[in-house]
């Protein structure tokens, strides 16, 4: 609806940007940006390359890297619930909308369990990860078995990124960016030294809850491009790459985002040119960037580049 309103209000702008992207791509000898589906894939990819590593930075340094994995499997259950609901009621909304709600609830549940236990227990995490995935598979079997659209959520498929999901994912990205802009200082403090943050009277559990909810939003945003199984990679690998060569926390954020965006762009181009699985290509590029970072780190004896 919003996207309709926007394209009604500024149809000229959307067309102009789309034409510019097409011409820009041709300068590099490719016409892939002339296809609307590739434009949408690039847009969503750039969103993920930005917010994935930003949120991931806080997760990695809190040793919560695997929460992304748990949440992406929960998002899968959410998609299944959405498709099931659509099949039963004839509802035509995006299953990603349902996935967003389900994943946010799961994130808060994980946080609650972690607070009760005093740690991010891998048992609770494993129960939620597999339990949610199991629910997803059962619901899918009820509503008619694995279809193309299910497979595309599992492994990622850029062709299925609709205009509606670009709008939804753009909105989620903007929300994550705004919240991070306002609270990154507090999140850093809580990440770095939780006890001292409590002493300074920060509401630590509020920030913890906020972090997992933001993670849930990023996971949903990344689902269509990367697929359930590979989403966590975008939260972790660019961050690990950046941390190897960063001279400060600020530069580690910049480098993580750079690594994320390079992985997304190079991955998308390679997967288009050679007809490769998109999510897998992006993550393999990220791993390559990480390896380069590690090599640089050991060659320079941990001396930072930025």
């Amino acid at each position: 609806m919003i996207s309709t309103a926007v394209s009604l209000a500024v149809p000229g702008l959307v067309d102009a940007v789309s034409d510019a992207a097409c011409e820009g791509g041709r300068l590099f000898g490719t016409d892939m940006l002339c296809y609307a589906f590739m434009q949408r894939a690039f847009l969503v990819g750039l969103f993920i390359g930005l917010v994935g590593p930003l949120i991931g930075t806080f997760l990695v340094h809190r040793e919560m890297a695997l929460i992304g994995d748990s949440l992406s499997h929960t998002a899968f259950a959410g998609v299944a619930i959405g498709l099931f609901f659509a099949a039963v009621t004839g509802w035509t909304g995006s299953p990603l909308l349902v996935a967003t709600v389900v994943t946010v609830i799961a994130a808060l549940l994980i946080q609650y369990l972690a607070e009760q236990a005093g740690e991010y227990g891998d048992v609770a995490m494993a129960i939620i990860l597999t339990g949610a995935f199991a629910l997803g598979t059962v619901l899918i079997s009820i509503s008619g078995g694995i279809s193309v659209s299910i497979a595309s959520y599992l492994f990622g498929n850029i062709v299925t990124v609709t205009e509606q999901s670009v709008t939804l994912l753009g909105g989620l990205t903007a929300l994550v960016l705004v919240v991070l802009a306002l609270t990154h200082k507090q999140l850093l403090f809580v990440t770095f030294d939780e006890e001292a943050a409590r002493v300074a009277r920060f509401n630590v559990s509020l920030y913890n809850r906020m972090l997992v909810v933001l993670t849930a939003l990023v996971v949903v945003a990344a689902l269509q491009i990367l697929g359930v199984i590979l989403v966590a990679g975008m939260l972790v690998i660019p961050v690990a790459a950046g941390a190897k060569v960063a001279s400060s926390f600020r530069t580690s954020l910049v480098l993580a985002v750079a690594a994320g965006e390079i992985s997304v762009v190079v991955g998308l181009v390679l997967s288009y040119q050679y007809n490769l699985a998109t999510g897998g290509t992006i993550i393999l590029v990220a791993v390559a960037v990480y390896s380069l970072g590690t090599m640089w780190g050991s060659l320079t004896n941990g001396r930072p580049i930025l």
Partner: protein, 253 residues
């Protein structure tokens, strides 16, 4: 003199295991209190009660006259944890970025302002780490890291500083200099509560010694502490080891 911390008959248990029993003590403005006691004697629990991180099961703990857990002005409290000198996490923060955290509570959701940056630079100079400002924390020695955490407390303009065995894993020379720094800060009016297993340090720097082994066995001046038989009362069979350390440290001086 105004009471900064008032612990009144406080008891706290982890489940069925009592950690602190019927402890009463008062810390006044400008005090330098050394808390001593054997491992597992409730020292850290007592500090957490004072900081309001834990609430007593019985009795009460007041910070500036308010129940500690409801005391809201976090910028007045500095805290250097037991792990400060040995942070082994690989989070790539610089010294300046850590000290800046001391200003976060004041800044809220807004960016740091000029006065915040001034306070950060001033705090780093005060503990003599200004030359390390852009170094990564992971590249510092244990002694340098302690100073960073103290600078963070100073940047927030804390007037009450808690340190929980800050000198673990730090070489003797850096330790001496670090305690000299604490004395300097204390002379400038900052109230200090220090947990320290090294009785030599406590008796030479603190003006009050509190010995605890679940219960409070003494709350007295270093002179009376050394003259009395509090160690025997508080430590029981552990005392040999502690006496030994005490002598060793005087040997170093």
């Amino acid at each position: 003199m105004t009471a900064v911390i008032e612990v009144e008959d406080a008891t706290f248990s982890f489940g069925d295991v009592p950690a602190v029993e019927n402890v009463s003590l008062t810390v006044e403005e400008g005090d330098f209190v050394g808390i001593v006691g054997p491992n597992g004697s409730g020292k850290s629990t007592l500090i957490k009660l004072m900081l309001g991180l834990l609430e007593p099961d019985q009795g009460r703990v007041l910070l500036y006259g308010v129940p500690a857990s409801r005391f809201q002005d976090g910028s007045r409290l500095g805290y250097v944890s037991q792990y400060a000198s040995r942070v082994d996490r690989r989070i790539p923060v610089t010294v300046r970025e850590v000290v800046e955290m001391g200003r976060f509570a004041r800044a809220g959701i807004f960016p740091l302002r000029d006065e915040d940056h001034d306070a950060v630079e001033e705090a780093m100079q005060q503990v003599r780490i200004a030359d390390l400002a852009d170094r990564k924390l992971t590249h510092l020695s244990g002694g340098q890291r302690q100073r960073v955490f103290v600078a963070r407390a100073l940047a927030s303009k804390a007037d009450l500083l808690f340190l929980d065995e800050p000198a673990i894993g730090v070489d003797v020379e850096s330790r001496e200099r670090f305690y000299g720094l604490l004395r300097e800060l204390n002379e400038q009016g900052i109230t200090i509560v220090l947990i320290e297993h090294d009785i030599g340090v406590v008796t030479s720097y603190a003006n009050l010694v509190a010995c605890i082994n679940r219960q409070l066995y003494c709350h007295t001046s270093p002179e009376d502490f050394l003259a009395g038989d509090f160690l025997e009362q508080a430590y029981g069979t552990d005392q040999e080891m502690l006496r030994h350390e005490h002598h060793l440290d005087h040997h170093h001086e």
